[in-house]
């Protein structure tokens, strides 16, 4: 008996080998046969009716030694195993250790030590103490899923206990009967009576024991159906991802009471390398779990089998490639380090969308078959809910995005509409002004008013018609240019422009206007010669002209200085500095838009198109490396800078 126990134990602690089996079996058989001889137990005497007395034989010591050594090996093996392992196995080892220890201590005491002193009186307790071993092994099985037969064991134990109970009752009755009537009642009389009592008592006894077992031995058992109903109901009532994960964590926590639980969601269901985020974790450090759930073996396994991965069953996975084995070792280590007992897949549309990590139960009970049944349902139900929630989230994101896009577009459209109506108001004012002068003048000519005037006034009238006609033309061309530049504006710039010469020419053309306003207009040529720049002369001239015209218009006194200098990377810098009213800071950013003026330019440029800077920017931007910007100080003046380059600057 002790030999087979040793073999069981060796296989339990994974140290089983054929060689060990051979030695143990041989020794056991040797003593087994020896026990039939008088070498160990010399003589057995029957005392009274209930007990036996044996006397020691010559090889008794040897036998006792073998048994004691075997027991010691048991205890050492188990103690080692207990120390080495965690979780379920640790608890299983613990109970086996206690069982073997009790059995060893008592049987050694009553069967070997006391007999050595000639006391055989308690030897019959030997078999009782071996019961401790059996009972505790059973307990380990039932409480800690040793060998995964918890439920079968539960049923078996109940039946077995009921049977024993009935038999004990019968035996007691038999003994009582003998005592009371002080005589031997023939068993053939008594048998049917015991059988009758047994039949009547068996069922109530079984029920009682079942209740007892459920209450004290299988406390973690719960109503699976009720739990599933609760889960389904809660999951159906929400679409928010964090609510869904919270519900799952809540239900699993309430029913199984794990030490830790974490719901990890896969971010990229389509890509081969999985990436996860921790959606809801209790007692887990999310940072530490991420590498575990992102392990390729774990993902492949869960995706393929769609079944939970149980830490205690990792060693049973076979048929792996070298790479997979490495990954498995990693998973095993990480699960052990983080005390993860189970990795539960969440499968939606046959895709792995998440993993639930579970620690051991707080009660140290093992996960039962029923737990796994619940897992299966959680897997599918939760996965669907999570999938829906993710879809909802994505949808919501898309809708939110689109809503804000639409809002932005609407705002932009409204702004454009406002700009357009402003454009029409202003453009029509700008166009009407010269027209009103031309019409008024012609009307006076037709009525003969002009003839009443002195000749030089007459001349001024005719001159005005001409000037206003020219102004009208320039306003029209500005408006046309601006609307043309509204779209993507491209100009040919294959000419080589002598920029200093161009700038000097345009500056000189304003000499008369500057003199009229008593402004000092200066052109500063570049200190070093500047090579011709690729560009479009017509547009560049327009640009410089617009800048100078602006400077002149907004400067009442002081000076305007135009200068050119060479910049790094084959670029040149044109600056036009005035001492005018300056531009308020808040208006600077939008100043290059159409019809935008500085807030202190009180009103629209009464004699211009309001499109000058817009056109300037468009022209400069259409040149290689072209850039225009400004520096300004309200009340002190503004400097516009234009950069032009030999080629496009790549930064």
């Amino acid at each position: 008996m002790i030999g087979s126990a040793l073999i069981f134990l060796l296989s339990f602690v994974n140290k089983y080998s054929k060689f060990k089996f051979f030695i143990v079996a041989t020794l056991s058989l040797f003593f087994f046969f020896l026990s039939f001889t008088k070498l160990i137990v010399a003589n057995v005497e029957k005392v009274f009716q209930t007990g036996y007395v044996a006397s020691t034989g010559p090889l008794f010591i040897l036998y006792a030694l073998f048994l004691s050594i075997s027991l010691c090996i048991h205890i050492v093996l188990l103690a080692q195993y207990y120390k080495k392992n965690i979780g379920k196995i640790r608890y299983q080892s613990k109970y086996l250790l206690i069982g073997v220890g009790l059995f060893g201590f008592f049987s050694t005491l009553v069967s070997f030590i006391l007999p050595l002193f000639g006391n055989w009186g308690y030897a019959s307790l030997d078999s009782v103490s071996s019961l401790a071993f059996v009972v505790l092994t059973f307990y380990a099985i039932t409480k800690h899923r040793l060998m995964g037969i918890r439920l079968a064991v539960k049923k078996f134990s109940v039946y077995f206990a009921s049977l024993i109970g009935v038999m004990l009752m019968g035996f007691t009755l038999y003994l009582l009967g003998n005592l009371i009537f002080n005589s031997n009642i023939p068993f053939r009389w008594f048998g049917p009576f015991v059988l009758f009592v047994g039949v009547v008592v068996f069922d109530p006894l079984k029920k009682f024991l079942e209740g007892f077992a459920s209450r004290y031995l299988f406390t973690s058992l719960y109503d699976t159906e009720k739990t599933i109903q609760q889960l389904t109901k809660s999951l159906a009532s929400t679409i928010h991802l964090n609510e869904v994960t919270k519900t799952i964590v809540g239900v699993v926590s309430d029913t199984m009471k794990p030490e830790k639980i974490g719901v990890m969601l896969r971010r990229n269901t389509n890509e081969s390398t999985a990436s996860y985020i921790a959606a809801h974790v209790v007692n887990f450090e999310e940072k530490r779990e991420i590498p575990l759930v992102e392990n390729t073996f774990l993902n492949t396994y869960l995706q393929k089998t769609k079944r939970p991965l149980v830490y205690d069953e990792l060693s049973m996975i076979t048929g792996l490639s070298q790479r997979e084995k490495q990954q498995l070792t990693k998973v095993t280590k990480e699960m052990k380090d983080n005390a993860v007992a189970i990795a539960l897949p969440l499968i939606a549309k046959s895709q792995l969308v998440g993993i639930i990590l579970l620690g051991n139960k707080i009660s140290h009970d093992a996960y039962t078959k029923e737990d796994f049944k619940l897992f299966e349902i959680v897997s599918s139900q939760a996965a669907i809910a999570i999938e829906n929630a993710i879809l909802y989230n994505n949808m919501k994101e898309v809708v939110d995005q689109q809503t804000s896009d639409i809002r932005a577009k609407t705002e932009r459209l409204q702004e454009l509409l406002k700009l357009r109506s402003e454009f029409l108001d202003i453009a029509s004012h700008q166009l009407r002004t010269p027209v009103s002068v031309i019409n008024g003048t012609i009307s006076m000519i037709r009525e003969g008013d002009i003839e009443k005037l002195p000749p030089e006034q007459q001349k001024k009238f005719f001159n005005n018609i001409f000037l206003k006609g020219k102004k009208l033309e320039s306003i029209i061309s500005d408006i046309l240019a601006a609307s043309e530049m509204d779209k993507e504006f491209k100009i040919t710039h294959d000419e080589k422009i002598d920029v200093p010469a161009l700038v000097e020419r345009v500056t000189k053309s304003y000499a008369f206007d500057a003199e009229e306003k008593k402004l000092q207009l200066t052109y500063k040529p570049p200190p070093t010669p500047i090579a011709p720049i690729p560009g479009n002369e017509k547009y560049l001239e327009q640009m410089i002209d617009n800048l100078l015209s602006n400077a002149l218009h907004y400067t009442e006194k002081g000076s305007i200085t135009v200068s050119l200098q060479k910049k790094e990377k084959d670029c040149i810098l044109l600056s036009i500095a005035d001492t005018g009213i300056g531009i308020p800071e808040k208006d600077r950013a939008r100043l290059f838009d159409k019809f935008v003026r500085g807030g202190n330019a009180r009103n629209i440029y009464t004699d211009g198109s309001g499109l000058g800077l817009f056109i300037i920017k468009k022209i400069v931007d259409a040149h290689p490396g072209g850039k225009v910007w400004m520096e300004s100080q309200e009340g002190k003046g503004t400097t516009f800078f234009v950069q032009l380059c030999q080629s496009v600057i790549t930064k």
Binding site: D425, H429, S436, G440, K468, T606
Partner: protein
């Protein structure tokens, strides 16, 4: 200065227009004065007490509506009728001008100089009644 010749003040920043209208009004026997900025216009209105003010709304230095408010807010000039005279055909500006006391809003291109003179005469006649 004849007592029968009414005085017209034109507040307008474009010298070409001042030249045009001053010529016409003078030919029609008006006493015509002008100002190129709002500030100058207000100053002249207080000093000269014209019979009517023609006020351009788009001035290079100020907003004509602001000038109108000042004219109407000043006891010395509040009673002088002001005609808003502009090429800006913007409904909100027209409404503002009338709200702040302009007797009329005249679009420059809508009237030839002789029609403008006729219009001003009838306005002045109405004022006298």
């Amino acid at each position: 200065m004849s007592t029968t010749a009414p005085t017209i003040l034109l507040i307008e920043d474009d010298p070409d227009q001042i030249f045009l209208y001053s010529t016409k009004f003078k030919l029609e026997g008006f006493h015509f004065i002008s100002a190129t900025t709002g500030a100058e216009g207000i100053e002249k209105a207080r000093r000269e007490q014209p019979d009517l003010i023609l006020l351009d709304i788009i001035l290079s230095e100020e907003n004509g509506i602001e000038v109108l408010k000042q004219l109407k807010g000043d006891a010395l000039t509040a009673k002088i009728p002001v005609v808003a005279f502009s090429n800006l055909d913007k409904e909100s500006t027209v409404q503002d001008a009338l709200k702040f006391g302009a007797v009329e809003y005249i679009l420059k291109t809508s009237l030839e100089p002789k029609d403008l003179v006729t219009k001003i005469r009838s306005l002045l006649a109405n004022q006298k009644k």
